[in-house]
């Protein structure tokens, strides 16, 4: 009985320590975040950006934090890192008007013109992908499936009535949003993108500095990442341009 009591006390203390540690980490992140805002407002943009990045490195995933990091890097004059953090923020809050404005503004300052190859037909057919953010699409999928299953259960309890048109409608909506969500998960996992961080970089035909320079990209340009080998990354730009670039010249979004 006494041993049991002691075990409970040790477990309780450990839980308390974990809780206190987590709380201290959270308050540390909050302090750094507030300090970053203060430094930004005082015009110390690089220090502010570094603090925002430090908070993000602690595992905080938040669109506003990423947006602030983008702002600070832009004010510091680093368009590459600004675009990197704006792109990361767009993955979380793609419809935030401030973010979209700033992202468009910085995009207008980039040297490389990227061509949007998304078919207009695709945009019309899958209009909800443009209108809704990824989390909303996931919750819609779950919501429609929940409604569908609730109706199925009611049907079971109600003398096994057959499915009606409205049930098929809910099922169809649930399937559409579920497939869209899985497509988003797939793209996030297998269609990686990166941002060029250096002022100007040669994209070459091979994995050496002596390889033929195929084209040149500039800071802030968004590229697709196809492969990584011996310190080089195979990138894709505007669908039709492919080449190899040093790993340290880009950062994955």
């Amino acid at each position: 009985m006494m041993i049991g009591m002691r075990r409970l006390t040790v477990l309780g203390m450990m839980s308390l320590m974990i809780f206190v540690h987590a709380g201290a980490q959270a308050s540390e992140a909050a302090r750094e975040y507030l300090e970053g805002i203060q430094l930004y407002n005082q015009g110390h943009y690089e220090k502010a950006a570094t603090l925002f990045e430090t908070v993000a490195e602690k595992g905080v995933i938040n669109g506003k934090l990423y947006y602030n990091a983008g702002n600070a890097w832009f004010k510091e004059g680093n368009i590459g890192r600004a675009m990197l953090w704006y792109e990361r923020a767009l993955n979380i809050m793609p419809h935030d008007p401030d973010l979209r404005y700033n992202h468009d503004y910085v995009t207008g300052l980039l040297k490389d013109k990227s061509e949007d190859k998304t078919s207009p037909v695709f945009k019309v057919l899958f209009f909800w992908k443009e209108m809704l953010n990824k989390n909303i699409i996931r919750w819609l999928a779950l919501g429609f499936f929940l409604i569908f299953w609730v109706r199925v259960v009611i049907g079971m309890l109600n003398s096994g009535r057959s499915m009606k048109l409205i049930d098929w409608l809910f099922l169809s909506l649930a399937l559409v949003f579920t497939f869209t969500s899985f497509n988003d998960f797939y793209n996030a996992r297998f269609n990686e993108h990166a941002i060029v961080l250096v002022e100007s970089v040669s994209v070459r035909s091979g994995l050496t500095e002596e390889s033929t320079e195929l084209f040149v990209l500039h800071s802030g340009t968004r590229v697709g990442v196809d492969d990584e080998l011996r310190g080089y990354v195979k990138i894709r730009f505007s669908d039709d341009k492919i080449g190899w670039i040093k790993r340290e010249d880009i950062e994955i979004i």
Partner: protein, 576 residues
């Protein structure tokens, strides 16, 4: 060398041209000469070809309908074998059509033993040029990159230089034309880039680099007519050969703009311009407006020009409309016009003179500053119809004209006057961790309701409530029918079982449970279940018959019993 000659205007616009597939060859090669004749079908006189032997001759024709006009093209193809080495000549070939003679241009072919060393460069080559290599600062010049190819290529990718000493604007579309060079036909793709020098001095535009894949046919050359079909890449008998082509660097000397010798301030315009001006009305009343329109037209940086200075006399008020730009980027760079519309509103009566408006620009052709001047405009303002001086609050719409029915006021499209990013998001929730839903959580939440529904179904099945009322009734009908079919069943039990089987099956169609039904209820249920009318009649008859025997107490012989049993089975099968 021009490989064809267009004959001057005739009623049918006949044209003749000759082209060859190569201009250098070995004595063993075969040369293909093609003579194309538009809108005339005449024999080609080939007697002048002395340096080659004509191996074969074929003809073809095509018909085109373009913009409502039809045209025929007749082609004569000759396979020629050289008779000697050296610079051989295909002379001007003559055609006679309806009394007129037409000629092609002569073509020179080099025949030598060794294969041509720079074959690739003749098959495909690139060029770059500028339309002016001595521009002034601010003068637009056009950089033209040209890709010439006489063979099949694929995957072209162009890397143009950085143009770091220029402001750069690419034209919207590449042009694609066909050109005859030395008698050989090339496809030519041209990209034009407008460059505006930003500072004086000598600069060099680095080479443009084009990478592409050249389609090389595999195997030996066959002269089989099917070769061109089966030898193509579709059937896998071709390979791709990577080519990297560079243009020559282009040196450019950029001249500074000379000092402005005039009193009129330089407008910043560099190019070739004209200025025109017009006034809508020369006679108005106090309170009314007239529109003064200034139009700058020409080639150059028109879009950058500010509104010229206009001295408006006292008694008139000037309101500006947004300038209208109609500037496009074409083969010579930026060209078009910029229109300034000014609404002049009379606030006093009298005669007013708007003095000439001047624009000082730098003319790149003449290499000097030029002053453009408009005429002076007279404006007679009569007193207003209304007594007293009216408070003028003019309204000018987008077109610069006055809306008579409403008080006058200017409306302008709101535009950004400054550019910067929006500020930080300072709320504390920016530090909250919001990772979004993970794939595992999403799948879990998707599965949970389905598992719940499945579990409920299992419980219902286990407790016996899972079966629907309809299926329960069907089972009861089957059981009753089986019971009735047993031999030796007493008469009242037999009838009771038949009744129960029939009623249960009818109830199953209605998704209900119960023990008894009237004839009207049976009709109602089966009608809703969309049974045929004849089947419903039969069901009603059967029910009446069973009830009648049941309640009348009449005896049942074996035949009647069997017939009733069969009838019930048959009816139940139809109802089911």
């Amino acid at each position: 060398m021009l490989g064809f000659l267009l004959i001057p205007a005739s009623a049918f616009a006949v044209s003749v041209k000759a082209r060859v597939d190569k201009t250098q060859m070995t004595p063993d090669d075969i040369l293909t000469l093609t003579v194309s004749i538009s809108d005339a079908d005449a024999e080609v006189d080939t007697s002048g070809i002395k340096d080659f032997r004509i191996l074969s001759h074929s003809t073809g024709s095509s018909f085109q309908w373009i913009n409502g006009k039809s045209s025929h093209e007749y082609t004569h193809n000759y396979s020629l074998s050289p008779l000697k080495k050296g610079h051989l000549i295909i002379p001007a070939l003559t055609l006679d059509d309806k009394g007129s003679s037409y000629h092609t241009e002569p073509i020179t072919i080099l025949v030598q033993d060794s294969p041509v060393s720079d074959k690739d460069s003749r098959d495909i080559f690139v060029q770059a040029r500028v339309n002016d290599d001595l521009p002034y600062v601010g003068q637009q010049i056009v950089y033209v990159f040209s890709l010439y190819y006489g063979i099949q290529i694929t995957n072209p990718s162009l890397q143009v230089p950085d143009f770091k000493d220029f402001m750069v604007k690419e034209t919207d579309k590449d042009t694609n034309v066909t050109k005859l060079i030395g008698g050989r036909e090339y496809n030519v793709i041209e990209r034009r880039i407008v460059l505006v020098p930003l500072k004086d001095g000598t600069v060099e535009i680095p080479p443009s680099v084009l990478t592409c894949d050249k389609v090389v046919k595999q195997g030996t050359q066959r002269r089989d007519p099917m070769d061109s079909f089966f030898g193509n890449s579709f059937f896998g008998r071709s390979r791709l050969e990577r080519k990297v082509l560079r243009t020559n660097p282009i040196p450019i000397r950029i001249n500074p703009l000379p000092a402005n010798p005039h009193d009129v301030e330089f407008s910043g315009l560099v190019g070739q311009m004209t200025l025109s001006a017009a006034m809508e009305n020369h006679d108005i009343k106090v309170g009314d407006s007239t529109t003064l329109t200034l139009t700058l037209d020409g080639i150059g940086n028109i879009m950058d020009v500010e509104e010229p200075k206009i001295n408006v006399p006292d008694g008139l008020k000037m309101y500006r409309d947004n300038p209208q730009e109609d500037v496009t980027i074409g083969r010579k760079g930026y060209a078009g016009k910029k229109i300034f519309r000014l609404a002049l509103v009379a606030i006093k009566d009298g005669t007013f003179t708007i003095p000439p408006i001047t624009v000082n620009y730098f003319d790149v052709e003449k290499g000097q500053y030029q002053i453009l001047v408009t005429p002076a405009f007279e404006l007679d303002v009569a007193p207003s119809d209304q007594s007293g001086e009216r408070q003028v609050a003019p309204l000018i719409n987008e077109e610069g004209t006055q809306d008579k029915d409403r008080p006058l006021r200017i409306k302008k499209k709101v535009e950004y006057t400054g550019h910067d990013i929006l500020p930080l998001k300072e709320s504390l929730d920016g530090v909250e961790n919001r990772p979004g839903m993970s794939l595992a959580m999403f799948i879990l939440l998707l599965i949970l309701p389905a598992l719940g529904a499945g579990g409920l179904k299992a419980i219902l099945l286990y407790t016996g409530r899972g079966k629907s009322q309809a299926s329960l009734m069907v089972r009861r009908a089957e059981k009753a029918l089986k019971s009735a079919g047993k031999s030796g069943t007493p008469e009242d039990e037999f009838l009771s079982a038949l009744y129960r089987a029939f009623i249960s099956m009818v109830l199953s169609r209605g998704g209900m449970v119960g023990e008894t039904l009237t004839t009207a209820e049976v009709r109602n249920i089966l009608t809703k279940a969309n049974l045929k009318q004849e089947d419903i009649h039969e069901a009603e008859d059967l029910l009446n018959r069973i009830e009648s025997i049941r309640f009348s107490g009449g005896a049942l012989n074996d035949a009647t019993r069997k017939e009733l049993m069969d009838k019930t089975r048959q009816t139940i099968r139809r109802i089911r």
